[in-house]
Symmetry: C2
Subunit: 571 residues, 2 copies
């Protein structure tokens, strides 16, 4: 925070008495409230814009004559872990694309490590060049039908609340618990009255939505149709338009963005993998797409900046205006949102800037805590007389699964995978050093003909997920992950043929994002060579374990009938 | 703040499991983000809206079928003292007109009593039915060219900051001090970085405006032209459109209000006397006038509610939506903003509601601290050889005065009033128990033919102001105010012919606002009977003492040449 001496510097530089620290000269910039473009210099002192629309000189100067300057973009809801890199690599990956503020929910690492994981994110937030805001994960564990690595109570969350990166409570997924007045839910809601409480309310409508909002929850990124968005907006809820790697809502919701609603809408990525970030972009991609879909430029940029800031109470940013945080995106193409360069808190973003950050020691390097498995651990004794078994039906590009009933393949008294019908065995192994339980089932839709895939990313408890046609290969893949502390692995004929180590809590790599991008591309190619037709096989595997998404899922405790919210006896 | 048990009640009532505390049934309401009107019931639990657009039953029900419900109005900048009644009477006066939140600057009482005056407002805020927010007065005293009753440092203000009614620092009037980097100004600005700092920047433009904004000041109610407003808006400043008793900016600024700018504009009354409130209205009047000037209803109501709330970081209000504070105005006429009834924090506003407030003991009951005066204390010895003297030129309806030079009237070696030329003597007498100084001068424009007017309201130091043609009557009027602890008084032929006692710090009456309204009307009539042509003689008298308004003013230290910001030797 600025002291009196710094305020004096600000005044002198704003008045032009002394050169500003940084000046973007002779540029065009967007005033997002009116959506109008203005011309002039932009003067910056420290981390703050101190002058616009006037002529300034600077200690450093950038020629802005061919550029258009807009406020830095705000990702209103993101799980950095989904980028598979550490928060400081995420920083290095997305900030050059214009994302100057990321409001993250460290929900994945919190499920593995609890408060320690959130505190790791807070330490990273103190070093990151973008402004990383750490929301407090509200639902750890997500359900009682799985074994997570940690459990966070209202008191645990309150103990973390005073860190400057905290805005409030992260996505409140447990709306059934809210409607049922679960005492733990009420405690968390009560503890965060007056703070920002972020929502997660897919298809919640009518009086249920009223109750959800009445508890003080005010934003939602789980809106998938225009009709749903209209109801939420008309009830004062801010709609965060999500375009992630799997969940894509932009095409459905962008048509609602106009001069008025853009004040109550914003953008987010939720879960976006490094391939998509590298190949398409981050928030720049969402803005570009929204404009391509016919949204007025001013309305799209307003949503991505000022409206996002106001929705989360960040009153110091979102405008190219004196007094605001100098988070600026310099565009070579305004309409196509082509980023030329980025200024973050007054600093020109460059490799040198990232190099100045202090390293943060990773946490959770031994988070895969279980004994090695043998192929026979995956055996599933056939129950005499069952003519069908439950099979998870996977659909490409959706985390919603089908609950299918199919005739089993039985050999030697055990249920077997059957690649002719694309039925693979899928297992989830508890890996937090608690029960060591293994949930077993079958999945259809991956198209894998040989080998096995294993992952220590398994939403949201992040147990070990594995699928394949051969128990031998499944054991090899799982044991490799136990050995390297987590990641993605592909086994074939008793050998690991490709892998991506994710040693940080079994969720994040220690490698640069460029390396992870390459490794991920190699994994994708290898999985496709084994016959798999899904564009995102590891993401689809990871979401098989999330028992709050319909219809049939699997956890370490077994198959979960999500519609009836109960465990299913296999067979 | 809601505890877990209350959250459970909220959920039950929102879901319709139990009747809501209060339901406005079958009504039409404005969703101010889109500006659209919706139909349905509005359910309220405690102080919070818990349901809209659905059907509800309530313990209490209001038939809303002939009404339109809009969010409660927010007065973004008001000196309650200008209503001449206590904060709790102000509450009773304006809340029934739809003003459910008043962001006040207790600047007047702070100049008389310092922190004690601000704390009195805070105690009142704890009892008021409207939400009275108490900003911390940033410039006490206003200048060094006058003697105020108190002096507030940055440390004094910080000590008051944690009261829940505080949003931040009140109107930062001392922009010359800011531009000059006055150390005390820098201390105050530094202490409130990250808090809301309200502005006061009349005609501040260009780089000066940049410097002012760069210090974190973000709202301004002193904008008088559309061109000035456009620059402020384009620099991210929120423009608060003022329509007070003397300063009226609505006609000039309302044309700027549209779908986009209405998100960054709001309304305020600043100084509005009880006559205007009674005869025209409060914020309801501003909205009515804005719509009559051609502003779309949705844009006018948006500015008065949601935008005002967001400009000041009040995220719990400004919408008719679940989760928001149940501050609602029920209109019998939407377009004309005719208020039928008001709900404040879930309570139907009624005489009974006001009767439930705890009484707050008044402060500053003996704030007029000086010895009685004799007529000769007003004598002004003529300086040999001066062919002209400085005369304050008053213009009806403006607090800006002229600096006139006119030939003096001299008798017995003293300068004299000259009613033929409408030149009256005007004096300001220090009344806080400090120096006892008297500033003496002349004023033209009141039209008073006989008698004298005196006031203990004298912006912003609130010394005793008196004017007249006869020293005898001036002494009578002043001594009466000393005797009764402040107020307004009219003396004629050695007698008090009309008065309005203002015993609370010499600024506020202890009577009900209806009584004050009658007393003020009687004073106005009496002054007119003495020949005065000004519609607001006491307000114009009070503003003669404000040395930050051009061009010639008078304080206890003498005549002030505002343009050169220095004292003037009389003659």
């Amino acid at each position: 925070m600025a002291n009196a001496q710094h305020i004096a510097r600000i005044i002198d530089q704003a008045l032009g008495r002394t050169p500003a620290d940084l000046v973007i000269r002779n540029t065009r910039f967007l005033e997002v409230i009116s959506g109008k473009l203005f011309h002039g210099d932009i003067a910056i002192c420290g981390d703050r814009i101190v002058g616009t629309q006037e002529s300034y000189h600077g200690v450093k100067e950038i020629d802005g004559s061919d550029l258009t300057v807009v406020p830095g973009f705000i990702d209103t809801h993101v799980h950095c872990e989904s980028s598979l890199v550490t928060p400081l690599e995420f920083d290095r990956c997305v900030l050059p694309r214009g994302t100057t503020t990321a409001i993250c929910d460290p929900h994945e690492i919190a499920n593995v490590l609890g408060s320690e994981g959130i505190q790791y994110f807070m330490r990273c937030a103190e070093q990151s060049c973008l402004d990383l805001r750490v929301q407090l994960s509200s639902c750890v564990p997500t359900t009682e039908l799985e074994t997570a690595g940690a459990r966070l109570s209202a008191a645990d969350l309150v103990a973390l609340r005073d860190h400057p990166s905290v805005i409030g409570l992260a996505e409140f997924m447990n709306y059934p618990g809210l409607l049922a007045k679960d005492p733990q839910v009420l405690d968390k809601l009560a503890a965060f009255q007056g703070w920002h409480i972020d929502g997660h309310a897919p298809l919640v409508r009518g009086k249920n939505l009223n109750a959800y909002l009445a508890c003080g929850i005010c934003t939602c990124h789980e809106t998938t149709s225009a009709e749903e968005a209209r109801e939420k907006l008309s009830k004062g809820m801010h709609v965060l338009i999500r375009e992630g790697t799997v969940s894509k809502d932009l095409a459905a919701l962008a048509p609602l963005l106009d001069a008025r609603t853009s004040n109550a809408m914003a953008f987010c990525t939720d879960d976006r993998n490094p391939l998509d970030i590298a190949e398409q972009g981050h928030l720049d991609y969402l803005i570009r797409r929204a404009i391509a879909l016919g949204i007025a430029e001013g309305d799209a940029y307003r949503a991505a900046t000022w409206s996002a800031a106001r929705a989360f109470g960040l009153r110091d940013r979102g405008l190219v205006a004196p007094g605001k945080r100098a988070d600026l995106v310099l565009l070579s193409d305004y309409r196509c949102c082509e980023v030329h360069s980025v200024v973050s808190a007054g600093r020109l973003v460059s490799p040198e800037l990232f190099a100045q950050r202090q390293t943060i020691d990773p946490v959770g390097l031994n988070s895969v805590k279980r004994a090695i498995v043998r192929p026979r651990d995956f055996l599933m004794p056939a129950t005499t007389g069952d003519s069908t078994i439950a099979v998870i039906g996977v659909n490409a590009g959706s985390i919603v699964t089908d609950h299918r009933r199919l005739p089993p393949q039985i050999r030697d008294g055990y249920y077997q995978a059957d690649t002719r019908r694309d039925i693979l065995k899928v297992c989830v192994l508890e890996r937090h050093g608690h029960s060591g339980d293994i949930g077993r089932g079958f999945v259809q839709g991956f198209g894998l003909l040989r080998g096995a895939l294993a992952s220590s990313v398994g939403h949201d408890s992040h147990n070990l997920c594995v699928l394949g046609s051969q128990d031998d290969d499944m054991a090899v893949a799982v044991n490799r992950l136990i050995d390297i502390g987590g990641g993605f692995a592909i086994a074939l004929d008793g050998q690991i043929i490709e892998e991506l180590p994710l040693p940080v809590a079994g969720l994040m790599s220690l490698a640069p994002y460029e390396t992870v991008h390459q490794q991920l591309a190699a994994l994708r190619d290898a999985v496709q060579a084994l016959g798999c037709s899904l564009p995102e096989p590891f993401l689809q595997l990871a979401f098989l374990a999330l028992p709050v998404i319909p219809h049939l899922k699997i956890t370490d405790q077994g198959l979960v009938d999500v519609d009836n919210f109960c465990l299913l006896n296999t067979g």
